[in-house]
């Protein structure tokens, strides 16, 4: 028996959406890998895009930014441990589309069906969370350090200055209202670039509560019917290189030296750590 499940991956620019796809496609096709969801076979679709992503990922090169307009449809045929087959499709949407929803308060009609998926992966880059900061706290800190408050040219308000958590809360609220409201949905919240935040010694849920408290409250207190769970995800395991800048890092070489490329992946659920990048998807479709 086979069923088709539509997932959407959402997230602000540079949250790691394409890297997740690359690592996922590599891992389910890596010989010998043991995952909650495994590769079931190719359909008649075009895998050029996915293969290109996975190739770049394996070589330790950063992904190119997703095309700023239009979605690239990605479909994978997977099966679970008892042979239940699922066809998972998710368009590779550029993060700019989501940023535009916050900043310009509009949505391309073409995204409508994609964003009405009953299960969503939300990626938040744990390394680039912009937390709110206040002038008065800055003044107090300057005084404590015995330095003057630096004179700066004031900046006009613009939507992009908002804290990360505010943008994400609004994105989720939009997905639960108007044309996008389909009722209850499942949400896998992945805090990406986990290798950069794990040094804090906190679990993903604790990172959510401490670094994204507004988002945490919004999800926890359940005004909108999200069924959600949070993971930490390092889909690269460390820094990748940009070939266009001729970058070369010893850390990337160490990742390349690992026996299996999938060993670079780290998926953190509470205190449990694994390299199985399919676990959040399994939870989403369960």
């Amino acid at each position: 028996m086979s069923s088709e499940i539509h997932l959407s991956i959402v997230g602000l620019p540079s949250s790691g959406k394409t890297t997740l796809l690359a690592a996922l496609w590599h891992m389910v096709r890596e010989p010998g890998s043991i995952t909650a969801l495994s590769f079931d076979g190719l359909s008649h679709g075009n895998y050029e895009h996915l293969n290109a992503l996975a190739k770049r990922w394996r070589s330790g090169n950063i992904q190119q930014r997703t095309q700023v307009s239009g979605a690239r449809d990605v479909t994978m045929r997977l099966k679970d441990a008892v042979g239940q087959k699922v066809q998972v499709s998710f368009p590779d949407l550029p993060g700019e589309d989501f940023a535009r929803m916050w900043e310009r308060r509009e949505l391309d009609k073409g995204m409508l069906e994609t964003l009405k998926a009953p299960a969503l992966v939300l990626l938040v880059n744990g390394d680039t969370i912009k937390m709110p900061a206040w002038v008065v706290d800055r003044i107090a800190m300057s005084k404590r350090l015995g330095i003057g408050v630096p004179e700066m040219e004031p900046t006009e308000w613009s939507a992009d200055l908002a804290p990360t958590q505010v943008k994400i809360v609004d994105l989720l609220q939009m997905l639960m209202s108007g044309d996008l409201d389909i009722g209850g949905r499942r949400l896998a919240l992945l805090i990406s670039a986990w290798d950069k935040v794990e040094g804090d010694g906190l679990t993903p849920a604790e990172i959510l509560e401490s670094k994204l408290p507004l988002l945490h409250q919004y999800l926890r207190y359940g005004r909108d019917p999200w069924t959600w769970h949070v993971w930490g995800l390092s889909a690269q395991g460390g820094v990748y290189e940009d070939p266009e800048k001729n970058e070369s890092f010893p850390e990337t070489d160490k990742l390349r030296d690992l026996e299996r490329p999938s060993d670079r992946i780290k998926v953190v659920d509470g205190l449990a750590v694994s390299s199985d990048i399919t676990k959040p998807l399994q939870w989403l479709i369960s």
């Binding site: 307009s69 929803m101 308060r105 509009e106 949505l107 391309d108 009609k109 073409g110 409508l112 709110p132 900061a133 206040w134 002038v135 008065v136 706290d137 800055r138 003044i139 107090a140 005084k143 408050v149 004179e151 700066m152 040219e153 004031p154 900046t155 308000w157 939507a159 200055l161 908002a162 804290p163 958590q165 505010v166 809360v169 609004d170 609220q173 939009m174 209202s177 108007g178 044309d179 408290p213 507004l214 409250q217 919004y218 926890r220 207190y221 359940g222 005004r223 909108d224």
Partner: protein
């Protein structure tokens, strides 16, 4: 040196090839020589680039502060509380709105947790000048424009044991409220006051600490309440929070004790004048967006005020026509009346 190619405007002339004029003129004298034949002009090519039509878009909710009608629609969704903020210019109304929202950025406030908001853009705008991202040297909030209709900031808040409550905080220019003390008919336009479960009167602590301004504050502030009660804009039984704002300025002043005494006097005076008409009257002292947090914490006192707002409830009011309004829903009161223009 290259020879310049000869051309002729006469299509039958072979001047370019045989260097002879078909009409027998000397080349220098031929009126057509040197002109470009219409046949020589290349046809314009269609541009290669295809003009792509922009993708049709769907407008999303603006996220700005709400007008009265949109607020009324949202008030149907959950149990709601409507707050009317009144006070003279610069008494700190916008700072208080921004302060409540900014405290929620860091976690629940006095047990009230953020559960959603349809006015996040509006909140972000009023918070901007207090945020480090603005690069302002001093925390500040924009003044609400005079003469504009009141708008509402919306927060859904969750409290353990009480569940979800929608809070709608009305915002209007302080100058408009002051105008009601000059002409009581001005109060007719204050729909946000008539719909309020709780009125919050702000008293500018910084001005009360200023010897040149304190008497004006002491005189003008109760007059606003007098006018609104007289005009029946404030409903009977409505609860009143009287809030001393800008605690940081009060604490930093050498008149802190005098300010407290003046404020207590104000509260006593209003209670005596209107206590029988109003529900509970309760004083608060806040530092919603202090310019300095050496002696006060940012947001100090705001949590207590927020709880007062959330617990505010208006007992049934028997109106003049003798009709029992006890079973009337709040929303029916909010969207009623031809007088609300």
């Amino acid at each position: 040196m290259a020879t310049k190619a000869l051309t002729c405007g006469n299509a039958d002339c072979n001047l370019a090839s045989d260097r002879k004029c078909v009409e027998g003129y000397e080349i220098d004298e031929c009126p057509h020589a040197g002109r470009i034949s219409i046949d020589d002009i290349p046809e314009a090519e269609e541009p290669d680039t295809v003009v792509t039509q922009p993708e049709p878009t769907i407008a999303l909710a603006s996220g700005e502060a709400l007008d009265r009608y949109t607020a009324s629609i949202l008030q149907r969704r959950l149990v709601s509380r409507s707050i009317g903020l009144i006070g003279p210019n610069d008494s700190g109304k916008t700072s208080l709105i921004a302060g409540v929202y900014d405290l929620l950025q860091e976690g629940a406030v006095s047990g009230a947790a953020f559960a959603g908001s349809s006015t996040l853009i509006g909140f972000e705008k009023v918070c901007h000048l207090a945020r480090a991202a603005s690069r302002s040297a001093v925390p500040h909030t924009e003044r609400t424009s005079r003469g504009s209709d009141a708008t509402f900031f919306h927060l859904d808040l969750y409290q353990e044991g009480l569940g979800l409550t929608s809070l709608f905080i009305g915002d209007r220019s302080g100058e408009d409220y002051l105008a009601a003390t000059d002409q009581i008919s001005q109060a007719d336009q204050f729909f946000e006051i008539r719909r309020a479960d709780c009125i919050t009167l702000l008293v500018n602590g910084a001005q009360l600490a200023d010897s040149g301004l304190r008497h004006e504050v002491k005189a003008a502030t109760p007059q606003i309440v007098d006018a609104l009660v007289e005009a029946r804009s404030i409903r009977e039984g409505c609860r009143l929070a009287i809030v001393l704002t800008k605690k940081d300025s009060v604490v930093a002043s050498r008149y802190a004790d005098r300010v407290q005494k003046d404020f207590d006097g104000l509260v006593k005076s209003i209670s005596e004048s209107h206590g029988a008409y109003l529900g509970e009257v309760k004083p608060f002292v806040v530092a919603a967006s202090p310019k300095d947090c050496e002696n006060v914490a940012r947001g100090e006192g705001v949590g207590d005020l927020l709880l007062f707002w959330l617990h505010a409830s208006l007992p049934p009011v028997a109106l003049g026509d003798g009709a029992d309004r006890g079973f009337e829903r709040m929303i029916d009161i909010l969207i009623e009346k031809g007088t609300e223009n």
